[in-house]
């Protein structure tokens, strides 16, 4: 309880951590896993499904639906222009 009081940022009322929505063009994915491995919030996992080329594209992990902070790194690092985020 004390820990929660001490560790809460003093400006947490005014500073908002962004929330991002992940958009996916699954047909372009080639399963390289850059987005999955480099997401700072570990939002993404490999899906059980495959696209038409047989690659397992990324999906938002169970329980991580509100974890994306719209940093945009997945969009920048994806070699296929297959994923991007927008701020909610």
């Amino acid at each position: 309880m004390v820990e929660t009081l001490l560790r809460k940022p003093l400006d947490s009322a005014t500073v908002r951590v962004p929330l991002g929505q992940v958009f996916l063009i699954s047909g372009r994915c080639k399963g390289c896993r850059f987005c999955i491995d480099f997401c700072p919030k570990d939002v993404l996992v490999e899906s059980q499904n495959m696209n038409a080329k047989g690659y397992h594209y990324p999906v938002v992990a169970h329980g991580k639906e509100d974890a994306c902070v719209n940093c945009g790194f997945c969009s920048l690092v994806c070699p296929e222009f297959a994923i991007f985020t927008e701020e909610v």
Partner: protein
């Protein structure tokens, strides 16, 4: 929220969408580099119609074909003189040469040093994946010592170039090195190159899991990219001679940065006539 499936990407306007997905291997670093280039085009303030991309031959050189610009896929090694002529004939064009280490440094090496010497107003982006990828992974002038390639099965016994050192020595006015992982810094460097008058040279290390990683016991693109991530340091003030890359020597980091940003007279064949006030 779960992911939403869509059909297009915000950067698609800069690409020939009907040609996607591209031919590069899963995990290839050229895609993020093309993406950084596209973002720099959008931020450059120069109309998309005035941007021109010229390349030679190789995997990296294929990038131009995917970009929604005036693009020129020329002969192996000859992108720089081709681009020089375009820049001279139409100074309104923003000319970028996006090509690979084999194309720009081996067969194109002579043209590189002369373009830098002249200080032609073009931007060179050299994707360095340490091998000749398109033809299956042969050794090249940037292959690190000891690394294996199909034409160096016992390990590369040649010494590679240090590209920023070479470009700076030849006269480039802006010299930088990043990786395909340092996408934001790369985009900023490309933007600086576009805004700067003169010959700019950006080396970008990129993973090549099939051509380079596989023969060198690097498992996949993720492992190759983590290799860069772990061994990269950023030091804009590093001495150019110290920028060597040797995979075997764990104590030698891969140094990234914007190393050179100077002013030199740019190449303008008509300036001399104008300045002398000839009739």
């Amino acid at each position: 929220m779960a992911e939403i499936q869509v059909e297009s990407h915000p950067i698609d306007a800069l690409f020939r969408k009907d040609r996607l997905p591209h031919i590069w291997c899963p995990g290839c670093g050229i895609g993020p580099i093309a993406h950084a280039y596209a973002l720099a085009i959008l931020e450059s303030g120069i109309p998309q119609d005035k941007h021109v991309c010229v390349s030679g031959i190789g995997c990296s050189a294929r990038a131009e074909g995917y970009m929604n610009l005036d693009t020129y896929h020329t002969t192996h090694g000859r992108a720089l003189p081709f681009a020089t002529a375009m820049a001279l004939v139409n100074p309104e064009l923003e000319v970028t040469v996006l090509s690979g280490d084999g194309d720009l440094i081996a067969i194109g090496g002579n043209h590189l040093i002369h373009a830098a010497r002249r200080n032609v107003d073009i931007n060179a982006i050299c994707v360095n994946n340490f091998n000749y990828g398109m033809t299956g992974g042969q050794v090249g002038p940037t292959t690190p010592p000891g690394a294996r390639a199909t034409t160096a099965p016992y390990g590369n016994y040649e010494q590679p170039f240090i590209l920023p050192y070479l470009a700076a020595a030849a006269g480039a006015v802006f010299v930088a090195r990043w990786t395909s992982l340092h996408v934001r810094q790369l985009k900023d460097a490309i933007l600086r190159a576009m805004q700067k008058k003169g010959f700019t040279f950006i080396e970008v290390l990129a993973p090549c899991p099939v051509g380079f990683g596989s023969p060198n016991d690097i498992g996949d693109a993720i492992e190759e990219t983590w290799l860069y991530r772990e061994r990269c340091v950023v030091d804009h003030n590093a001495s150019l001679q110290s920028l060597e890359i040797d995979l075997r020597r764990k104590d030698v980091p891969f140094v990234m940065g914007n190393f050179v940003d100077i002013e030199r007279p740019t190449f303008d064949p008509l300036v001399m006539m104008k300045e002398k006030g000839r009739e």
